[in-house]
């Protein structure tokens, strides 16, 4: 087989029959576009979440009574510090604050600015903040989303929080949080821990939870057992559990989509089968001629398969390319809402471009394999055309 002449002939044939192939390529590319966009979004979100998780503390301890979280007593902190192998024990106070008819809520995070932080981003944040000025009076740091919302409601410089006791607490906006890990920071308000206690209704001796790190990962399982044995109403969660549940959540969203997508795919496969059966039967005479001129069945099969592969790759590249542009350049309008639905703030999330080899292979397999399988029988049927057809 002379490769040059083969490709030359193939190109000319494809060009001549372009009207027949074009519709297939366009439809395939559209289906691939949809599929790739969804998988790109989900892998990008997963990537961002993993990045976010990386800087989170390893363990979180809280009090759970009857399956409901209740304020955690501060004395637990001392018990944790006593366990060998535990470091960075930190108490946290946080909760959601609801605005205006409860349609919006933001996350209030209380921070003890004088202590070491177990959350790496917070640590960085504090390093950048002028603590003296910040601690002087009631002040807070807010996320981009919060700032936008408050601005829209004419709270330019401060906001009056309503505490559970029914009193107002005026807090000045000190700074807008840097736009770093936007998934977490977008709806966050960071303020001194005592102020947060007041607004969220905790007593002096209570915190939301206590975090700590365990530097040796081999001890994690053991540590979980040890810590949860401290009190019957103590719940301990480690970072791996959280990661696993995120993984499951996104597998669930992506997997559900894929299963629904199978319906589209099988319809598409059937259409392909019928269409190519038709297209190829119109080529019988030409194939018969090729056979009469000395092409073997193998040569014709090779020719037809290469033709199919060209179509498969062309639509694959087109679909994936446009999906990339749509998700990572344009920010996936519309589809984003599907994935991030339930977020009560207008999300300023941008997708971090991640081109994962496994995602690309998955897309290729789920599309190319059924495609080729569908045209395989039509390809065979036309390839074994008897050469005498050329004489008719």
């Amino acid at each position: 087989m002379n490769a040059n002449a083969f490709w030359h002939f193939l190109t000319l044939q494809l060009f001549k029959e372009r009207s027949k192939h074009l519709s297939v390529i366009v439809i395939s590319a559209m289906i691939l576009f949809l599929l790739s966009s969804v998988l790109f979004i989900s892998s990008s979100i997963r990537f961002s979440l993993e990045e976010t998780l990386k800087v989170q503390p390893d363990f979180v301890v809280s009090r759970v009574q009857g399956g409901i979280s209740v304020p955690t007593p501060m004395i637990w902190e001392d018990e944790l510090i006593d366990i060998y192998g535990v470091s960075n024990v930190i108490q946290r106070v946080y909760g959601r604050y609801f605005f205006k008819a409860k349609e919006r809520s933001f996350l209030i995070v209380g921070v003890d600015f004088l202590e070491e932080q177990s959350h790496e981003n917070l640590q960085k944040l504090i390093a950048k903040t002028d603590i003296k000025a910040f601690l002087n009076g009631s002040k807070m740091l807010v996320g981009e989303g919060v700032k936008t919302y408050l601005d829209a409601h004419f709270y330019k410089d401060d906001y009056n929080f309503l505490t559970p006791e029914g009193t107002f607490e005026k807090v000045n906006i000190f700074k807008t949080l840097p736009f770093q890990s936007n998934l977490i920071a977008n709806d966050m308000m960071v303020m001194p821990i005592d102020l947060a206690r007041k607004i969220l209704g905790y007593s002096e001796e209570e915190v939301s939870d206590i975090t700590f790190n365990v530097p040796n990962p081999d001890e994690w399982d053991m540590m979980t057992d040890k810590v949860s044995a401290l009190h019957y109403d103590l719940q301990v969660v480690n970072k791996k559990d959280v990661q696993k549940s995120y993984e499951n959540l996104y597998n669930y969203k992506g997997g559900l989509f894929l299963i629904l997508f199978l319906v589209v795919l099988s319809t598409f496969t059937l259409i392909l089968y019928q269409r190519y059966s038709m297209v190829y039967s119109s080529e019988r005479r030409n194939i018969g001629l090729l056979r009469a001129l000395g092409w073997s069945i193998n040569d014709v099969l090779k020719f037809k398969f290469t033709e199919t592969l060209v179509i498969v790759f062309a639509s694959y590249i087109l679909g994936v390319f446009f999906a990339y542009v749509y998700v990572f350049v344009l920010g996936a309008p519309l589809l984003k809402e599907v994935f991030l639905g339930g977020q009560n703030l207008q999300n300023t999330l941008t997708f971090v471009p991640v081109l994962d080899f496994s995602v690309l292979t998955s897309i290729f397999l789920i599309y190319a394999l059924p495609f080729i399988a569908a045209v395989l029988i039509p390809v065979w049927r036309v390839s074994v055309t008897e050469p005498k057809e050329a004489m008719l």
Binding site: E247, N248, N251, Y252, L301, S358, L365, I366, A373
Partner: protein, 322 residues
Amino acid sequence: MNEVLLSNQIIVFLLSESTLFILLLVAFVVSLKVLVKWDFESFMPFQFALERQAYLVSTIILFVFVMKFILVVYFIFSIDALSLLLPGAMCGAGVIKANVYGSYLLVLKLSILFLLTLWFYIHYYDMRTKNHQWFKHKSWLFSLIFVFIVLELGLDFSYFSNIDTHLPVSCCSALFGQLEGANPLPFGLSVSLLLVLFYLLYILVILSLKSGYTLLYILTNILFVYIAYYAVVYFFGTYVYQLPTHKCPFCMLQAEYAYVGYLLWASLFMGTYIGLSDAISTLWLGKTDPKSKNIVVWLLSLFVLLCTAYVAVYYLRNGVLL
């Protein structure tokens, strides 16, 4: 629903396997019909139709042949990715051992690849005889392959639907690590003896291949794969990981080690597949292909060289062995 079955890769994998199965089922039914009615001497139009249908069978098998190779790599890759979901698993080793089906499935997949390679050889020779001399041979072989493939599909689904994501599995250090006093190596070998055997067998494989002692070659090559597996897990692998206690055939497939495991295992298995297929063709059909032999020499040498290189580079860098 099982969380594993919702993993994107597993869905794609099972779908691909099922699609291939449907194609193979078509091929199998056609193949049986052709096999039963085949009479190459006949001039009936029916026989000519059968000859055309034989092309359908071989086209499907060839397509499946290519896809199965890609899918085995994808399977291993997905298994590796699943280790995130399973408590305790650090790599594919733990995931494979997550239930009883895993190891059988992996061995079955590797065997099917071998049988497909063998089929490909017989098909190649059959196509180049003027009376389709080996037609029945290859059809029977395909029937055998099909039985294996049915089994494989069943195991695929049983395996993935029976992975319990709450049950902790062992990580590779527990699976392959040396228990006190227990020697994991076959025949009670020590590591140094294992290495001697490894290089000796390699030389023997090449010599028997080159000199045409086919039976000896088959024996030594099978033994070589067996010994090579242990040599990689218990010796060469530790140099890949640069950690004397890290013994695992799977971790080297991960990005941290530049995916070298794929190259390593692929060169060993591909070399063996091609070599054994050629050897069996020699014994069975009396056909032999010198080009295949060269490829085998190249692949197996690449494997041995790669293994050795890890040790050598480590030694040159650190001046000591592990």
